[in-house]
């Protein structure tokens, strides 16, 4: 049934008449309609509900607020109604209102800014401490692991290796192949200008082996395994699987954390190796098509000018990147709170933070190696 609002102004008396079904769908229209009424001369208002067939609780709240609002504007307001059901709905809402009003409000807004910033700083610092604690635990468990070969959980490591290395080969290979193609294509254009075609080999060799392959692999893995670690472990926390493990005496660090870290540290150098091959391969194809450098010539020149140390530097970065990605991903999973939002938030953060950490680590490598003259 449609609902309707009519009003009737007689001298200083205003009567607002609601009819039909007053529900949460119609409130907003009425609110707008009521705002157009001018009240200046009015001193008595009657909210006439005689023809109301049905009132829901939202509309009851609206009516009671309306009554209060008019009363505070010092207009005498009354609700007129005989319908038992409507009256009981109004009564229910009024009662709840008095209950909530009587609850003491502790929230004082004084010094809120200062307080909230102190709390934020405190939280940040606490978060940092927690991460350090996590780091400490990882190192301790790692040491325990090394004490005896029997402690190593080969099965979990093998499983994680399959998940984060074998299954990632395709995407890592494809990405680095494309990067090789793009880099070669862009530099071919520049090199052609100077007639320095053959130097593309030096350029590709050093940049891909030393920087691009490790970085691209790390970014792909951060997006792939880092986020998976956070989501998996976060979900386990929400379903209380982590608690169950603890009560059964299975330390999550030995069962979940260390196997993942170790697996990724093994996987990463292998993936970087594959990325090296595919990146160079992509570059070789472009050099052949675009610059007319034959494959034999490319490989000959490659052997001559690209020192093997560039390759090793790229590979060595692998375990470091892997450690950062895995520990950030897992740490983020472990601090997931008991709600689903928290998983999304922490997954995002884990990917962003691990890519950032990888790039910082790469910069440190660059500085250190350059200073060492390698």
């Amino acid at each position: 049934m449609a609902s309707n609002l009519t009003y009737n102004l007689q001298g200083d008396k205003l009567s607002i008449k609601f009819s039909g079904e007053l529900t949460l769908y119609t409130i907003t229209t009425f609110q707008k309609q009521l705002q157009t009424i001018s009240f200046k001369e009015v001193s008595l208002i009657a909210l006439d509900l005689h023809e109301l067939a049905y009132l829901d609780t939202a509309a009851a709240i609206f009516l009671i607020k309306l009554e209060e609002e008019y009363n505070t504007k010092s207009k005498k307001t009354r609700i007129l109604c005989f319908n038992e059901k409507v009256l009981s709905t109004l009564e229910l809402v009024k009662m709840q209102k008095t209950i909530t009003n009587s609850e003491i409000k502790i929230n004082d807004t004084k010094g809120l800014f200062l307080k909230s910033s102190i709390i934020k700083i405190n939280k940040f610092f606490y978060g940092f401490l927690l991460f350090m604690e996590f780091f400490g635990k990882v190192s301790m468990t790692q040491l325990d692991y090394l004490k005896s070969l029997n402690n190593i959980r080969y099965k979990e490591i093998a499983f994680e290796l399959n998940e984060s290395a074998i299954k990632a080969i395709g995407i890592v290979a494809l990405t680095s192949f494309l990067i090789g193609v793009v880099i070669a294509y862009q530099s071919a254009y520049q090199l052609k200008l100077y007639g320095a075609n053959i130097f593309i080999v030096d350029m590709l060799g050093i940049s891909i082996l030393r920087e691009l392959a490790p970085l691209i692999t790390a970014i792909v893995i951060a997006g792939r395994s880092g986020s998976a670690f956070t989501a998996q472990i976060g979900a386990m926390k929400i379903t209380q699987e982590l608690d169950a493990m603890k009560t059964m005496g299975f330390d999550p660090f030995t069962f979940l954390v260390i196997p993942r870290i170790i697996a990724l540290m093994i996987a990463m150098p292998l993936l970087i190796f594959i990325a090296d091959i595919m990146g160079i391969f992509g570059g070789m194809i472009v050099s052949h098509i675009d610059l007319g450098i034959s494959y034999e010539l490319f490989l000959d020149r490659f052997r001559e000018v690209v020192d093997v140390r560039h390759f090793f530097i790229g590979i060595i970065k692998g375990p470091f990147f892997a450690f950062l990605i895995a520990s950030i991903g897992i740490y983020r999973g472990l601090i997931v709170k008991n709600d689903t939002q928290s998983i999304g938030l922490n997954t995002t953060k884990s990917v962003v933070e691990s890519i950032f950490a990888v790039i910082v680590c790469d910069a440190l490598f660059s500085i250190a190696l350059t200073n060492l003259g390698i």
Partner: protein, 241 residues
């Protein structure tokens, strides 16, 4: 003889005080209930007993081992002496039901696979699951079945102590009564001591030997159900009418 004793436990989350000096004793071989209104800190107390959460002040002693500043070795040996059933079962989702139950056996014993299989089959039957369900994964079974499987896992190592958090909530009435009967049977057969949180009046009257009722951050009543009327707590008066 008291197997668990809780002394003057205080618990606080940030600003919120949950427990303000709880004392209780749980005897060997009894089925002990922790009752109280929602949010009074029953689950929290249970988690403190099984070393999942730290209390702010006081001490809990389980099987003569004090939980404050417990050593890693003692904690680990306690963990083999108890089984815990969580509210939603908390089965490992990457493992099937039988693998879930077998896990503690595989990790902690040198039993042969054939032997472990036998034990797992026995436990699955014991809690009333069908043996055809044993290959299913936790995502493929109902909430009630998860509880039963969780119980089977908690019982895998024949623990001395069993902690249950609302074991019958979410079960249909028939399964709930079966569950109660199972708990009683296990206590009689295996001499278990059972600590459980419950809201289910039938289950409370049918199974519990003694109860502790937490209300307003303290123990409002501790003792047998027949004397419960002596308590002055409002919750007790309404709950047990």
């Amino acid at each position: 003889m008291s197997i668990i004793s809780v002394r003057d436990i205080h618990t606080q989350f940030d600003e919120k005080i949950v427990h303000k000096g709880l004392n209780l004793d749980i005897n060997e071989g009894e089925i002990y209930g922790i009752l109280g209104p929602s949010g009074c800190g029953k689950t929290t107390l249970l988690r403190e007993m099984v070393l999942l959460q730290e209390f702010t002040h006081g001490n809990i002693t389980i099987l003569d081992k004090s939980l404050s500043n417990i050593s890693q070795v003692n904690a680990q040996s306690l963990r083999r002496d108890w089984g815990v059933l969580f509210q939603a079962g908390a089965l490992f989702s990457s493992l099937s039901i039988e693998e879930n139950i077998a896990l503690p056996l595989v990790e902690y014993t040198d039993l042969s696979l054939a032997m472990i299989n036998e034990i797992v089959k026995f436990k699955i039957n014991l809690v009333g699951l069908k043996s055809t369900d044993s290959k299913l994964y936790p995502s493929q079974i109902s909430g009630g079945m998860k509880k039963k499987a969780g119980l089977a896992r908690a019982l895998a190592m024949d623990p001395k102590l069993l902690f249950l958090d609302e074991p019958t909530s979410g079960l249909d009435p028939i399964s709930a009564r079966e569950f109660d009967a199972l708990i009683l049977k296990l206590r009689d057969m295996l001499g278990l001591t059972v600590v459980m949180v419950s809201h289910d009046l039938r289950s409370i009257y049918d199974t519990l030997d003694r109860v502790a009722i937490i209300d307003e951050m303290k123990i409002a009543y501790e003792g047998t159900l027949s004397d419960v009327a002596t308590s002055s707590s409002d919750f007790v008066k309404i709950f047990f009418k």
